[in-house]
């Protein structure tokens, strides 16, 4: 430092002020006469209301050979109803200033609505039409199928998506739905027609196995009256929730290269299976994973990005895939480390990554690291949940994962009670150095030899 570079008055770093009270919002649980459970949560001042509908139509429920039908079905809900054509429906939603998104995954299907509170009533009416009276016109289903077929090659050309598909294929047995792409393959999608979509809808969409979550500024709204006039009109026969079998995964250490000749970067995706949120280890796993690769100052980026410059960022994280109620068995989550490195850095980056993991296993996390992770994860909550949508999303996640409604609220306290040793044990158990499956989407001609020389298990190459 030179004096010439400091021309201002320097002050010592200020101390924190008094922490202001904040708690994760507690939802009120109720239900409609049709059996639809409703979670509501008042968030003063949030004029954009978020509505989540959790549907018991997970990918495991898809009939054999029709992978992708859950996604097509849930998207088709908004493509025309008994009262509106597909075009009119989209126009009516946009007239409300609303957005409606639909997706299907291993934990269930989801329809998400966001709308200014003054137009909630109208938008809930449209949402109800979509759920209760979808048209599933043959022409619309054909269009969705064709659109999906067009999208597949575009997704395959994206290195991150290509890596995720390959990882699922390598991890899970062929018989498991989880081994195959969420939205199906060209072969399975092209078999989907309107009759199959309607059959899937009738088999799986019913209020008693669904849940509605409504979050936002509801102070000016008679939500009960509004719901009874809208979602209350959705009725169907009763039915039991589907049970999804547990899944196993391979963990023999090896490398699969998805060949993209000429690629200037290698997309890395390293995966394993871990526990779901019901497991008592969860808070320790969250802390340990954050310390390993949650942010730019975590162990991986400290070396791979901020010391070596190999990457724009490498992240470690978890994604729950299966989460039955505790009486119905044990769940699983995908543990993943992902990032892109320039092609020439592929071998040194993998080498450094393993050194980071080995060092973590040998020396453990420091108390300072653990403390910082707790501080960040706990204190960031008021910010993360400032608006309605993330609150609704977390409440819906809890429903899908058969967790208590106060799971997230309790998690903050549990994170604070987790020791450095527990966080270390969780992350070290999660990432045994020699039992990781590594997917590399990149130029095989350039990276295969160097990666083989690393000696991290057999290396195979597949076409992109």
């Amino acid at each position: 430092m030179t004096d010439a570079d400091v021309t201002m008055d320097l002050h010592p770093m200020p101390a924190a002020g008094q922490v202001r009270d904040w708690a994760f919002p507690a939802p009120e649980r109720g239900g409609l006469p049709t059996g639809l459970p409703v979670l509501r949560c008042e968030r003063p001042g949030q004029q954009l209301v978020a509505v989540e509908i959790c549907l018991d139509a997970a990918l495991d429920a898809e009939p054999d050979g029709l992978d992708g039908i859950a996604t097509i079905m849930v998207r088709a809900l908004a493509q025309g109803t008994a009262r509106h054509s597909a075009e009119e429906f989209a126009a009516e939603l946009e007239r409300c200033g609303a957005t409606l998104q639909a997706s299907a995954d291993f934990l269930g299907a989801r329809v998400s609505l966001e709308v200014p509170s003054s137009r909630l009533h109208r938008a809930l009416g449209l949402l109800t039409e979509a759920l209760a009276e979808p048209a599933f016109a043959a022409t619309e289903i054909e269009r969705l199928v064709r659109n999906r077929l067009d999208a597949i090659p575009i997704e395959l050309a994206n290195p991150g998506q290509r890596a995720a598909i390959q990882l699922a294929h390598e991890l899970f047995p062929e018989s498991a739905r989880m081994s195959r792409p969420r939205q199906g393959t060209a072969e399975t999608v092209s078999r989907i027609d309107a009759a199959a979509v309607r059959a899937f809808y009738e088999a799986h969409l019913r209020p008693v196995t669904a849940t509605a979550v409504v979050v936002g500024d509801l102070s000016e709204i008679d939500l009960d009256a509004m719901l009874s006039d809208t979602l209350g009109r959705w009725a169907a026969e009763s039915g039991a929730p589907a049970l999804v079998p547990p899944v196993t995964a391979r963990d023999d250490g090896r490398v699969v290269i998805v060949d993209r000749p000429g690629a200037v970067q290698t997309q890395m995706l390293i995966g394993r299976l871990g526990p779901d949120r019901h497991d008592p280890v969860w808070p320790a796993l969250v802390l340990g994973t954050y310390c390993l690769g949650g942010t730019l100052t975590s162990r991986l980026d400290r070396v791979l990005r901020e010391e070596k410059g190999y990457t724009y960022g490498v992240r470690a994280g978890t994604q729950v895939l299966h989460s039955p109620a505790p009486d119905d068995g044990i769940g699983e989550a995908l543990l993943a480390i992902s990032g892109s490195v320039d092609t020439a850095a592929t071998r040194p980056a993998l080498d450094d990554l393993r050194t980071v993991i080995r060092t973590l296993a040998a020396d453990g996390l420091t108390d300072a690291e653990r403390d910082m992770a707790v501080q960040n994860l706990v204190l960031v909550a008021p910010l993360r949940y400032e608006t309605a949508a993330p609150v609704a999303d977390t409440l819906a996640d809890q429903v899908e994962q058969h967790l208590p409604d106060d799971f997230q609220a309790q998690l903050y306290g549990r994170l604070g009670e987790t020791s450095t040793a527990e966080a270390t044990a969780a992350v070290v158990t999660a990432w045994p150095e020699d039992r990781m499956i590594t997917i590399l989407v990149g130029d095989a001609a350039q990276i295969r030899g160097p990666v083989e020389d690393l000696g991290i298990g057999p290396v195979s190459v597949v076409a992109a």
């Binding site: 430092m1 050309a157 994206n158």
Partner: protein, 469 residues
């Protein structure tokens, strides 16, 4: 006025106060006590438009260096201190400005101010070749990841280069070229800081659960002694005629999965009624699932997988309307282009229907509500209007102005601007096969949007601005 979802008169209860320190730093404060969080946002009036030939990407590379420590903050301390305090942070660079922001639990506001002041005043005390070389590599990998290694990744860069002529300050994008990134020196970085990172070239907005008097006192304490300085290079002339005058066209043969038709239209500058009208025109044509292009190309003709049209607002030069259509199956581009031309011509002749205008205004209003629903979003908007238009209060009335636009104004701007002689066209033709794969016979391994996006993943750090659609 349209049919608003909320009462925007009096800015829905939001207010902001303005202050100026003796060194020229402008402050904008806005109290909101709903949630115990406080957003700190600084806009420096410098972006890629200020860069000179041979040094493209310098503003963005420099933004990364702002996270590498200053006199009292070592290494990655800025990130560590903010995250350890429960805050979130980042910085972004666009054509017209560079911004930095920390959103903190309210009790840690003072820390964020101290950190921002330390780097505004003393960055050069810590800046060295090691940081520069490291962040140069990081930025080059950012460029590879976001542009060079993904299909269509360089489309935006190419369209910009077509739409703004050689030598124009907006001819290149903030990410810069690999050659120029390699060429940047420590001397360049130091000169860039001295020229642009002055209190009198910045606006600081603080929004949220704050005490304005106390916040003002802290701002004065930490920023007040940073000397004002003037060394900014004058902006190069960015004036352009309203209309390009002739269609510019480039065909790219690349290994992409589908044919694509993209176009950039020259539109009115931000801050004008005409720009708001153009935004509405483009929204009616190509934003959402009930737009004219979506209905025509995706629903009816089934020639396209997706059809999007959006506006990148620019204050210092004409804005850009960016259209992006990906072809379905074996559809050829001329077929799509003819339909697009027909739809644009029809719209320019007839203007929007009352229902279309209502929908477009409802969508813009929802987007505005979304931006304003967070303290960070509000702080950023206040900075934007202060830096680019000299008046932060304009942020609160932006949506009222958009709702005030008439169908006649939308029609007029469409007729004047959405013409073939006012666009740059970029066509993608895949190299893989002479004919794109026939649907139903594509790679059997399928696809999904997984991209393993696990929870707990934090910021991806100092990134380039999302100036793309």
């Amino acid at each position: 006025m349209g049919n608003p979802a909320v009462n925007h008169t009096g800015a829905a209860g939001l207010t902001a106060t303005e202050h100026r320190l003796a060194n020229g730093l402008r402050l904008v404060l806005s109290e909101d006590h709903l949630t115990p969080v406080a957003a700190v946002c600084i806009w420096y009036d410098v972006g890629s438009r200020h860069e000179i030939s041979g040094r493209t990407g310098l503003a963005h590379l420099f933004e990364h260096l702002m996270f590498q420590g200053s006199a009292q903050v070592t290494g990655n301390g800025h990130f560590e201190l903010v995250q350890g305090a429960g805050g979130s942070l980042n910085g972004t660079t666009s054509f017209e400005r560079t911004n930095y922001f920390e959103t903190m639990p309210a009790h840690q506001l003072e820390l964020a101010l101290w950190l921002e002041a330390d780097r505004m005043g003393t960055l050069l005390a810590a800046l060295d070749d090691e940081s520069l070389d490291n962040q140069r590599d990081v930025v080059k990998n950012e460029r590879r990841q976001r542009y060079d290694n993904v299909p269509y990744g360089t489309a935006f860069e190419r369209l910009i280069a077509l739409a703004y002529p050689e030598g124009h300050p907006y001819h290149h994008t903030p990410i810069g070229s690999m050659t120029d990134l390699d060429a940047a020196t420590l001397a360049d970085a130091r000169a860039f800081f001295r020229a642009n990172y002055a209190p009198n070239n910045a606006v600081l907005a603080i929004v949220g659960d704050i005490d304005s008097q106390q916040t003002l006192a802290w701002a004065d304490k930490y920023f007040g002694s940073i000397p004002a300085h003037d060394g900014k290079m004058p902006l190069r002339n960015a004036e352009l005629p309203d209309i390009i005058g002739t269609e510019i066209r480039q065909v790219i043969r690349e290994d992409v999965p589908a044919r694509a038709l993209m176009a950039a239209y020259r539109l009115p500058e931000d801050g004008t009624r005409e720009c708001d009208a153009a935004d509405l025109a483009v929204t009616v044509l190509g934003n959402g699932m009930s737009s004219r292009l979506y209905n025509r190309l995706v629903r009816h003709d089934r020639t396209a997988i997706a059809a999007d049209f959006g506006v990148m607002r620019l204050a210092g030069t004409p804005s850009l309307g960016w259209m992006d259509v990906k072809a379905s199956g074996g559809t050829e581009v001329p077929q799509i282009e003819a339909a697009v031309n027909e739809e644009l011509a029809r719209f320019s002749a007839d203007g929007p229907s009352a229902e279309e205008l209502e929908r477009a205004q409802a969508q813009l209003e929802r987007e505005w509500l979304d931006r304003f629903s967070t303290v960070a979003g509000r702080a950023d908007e206040l900075c934007r209007y202060a830096v680019l238009f000299g008046d932060p209060q304009l942020a609160f009335t932006a949506v009222s102005r958009a709702l005030d636009i008439t169908a006649a104004e939308v029609k007029a701007v469409a007729a004047a601007r959405l013409r073939p002689d006012n666009r740059a066209v970029l066509v993608y033709e895949p190299t893989g096969s002479p004919e794109p794969a026939v649907t139903g016979q594509v790679d059997p391994d399928g696809a999904d949007p997984d991209g393993a996006d696990p929870d707990g993943a934090g910021e991806n750090s100092a990134g380039e601005d999302g100036t793309r659609q």
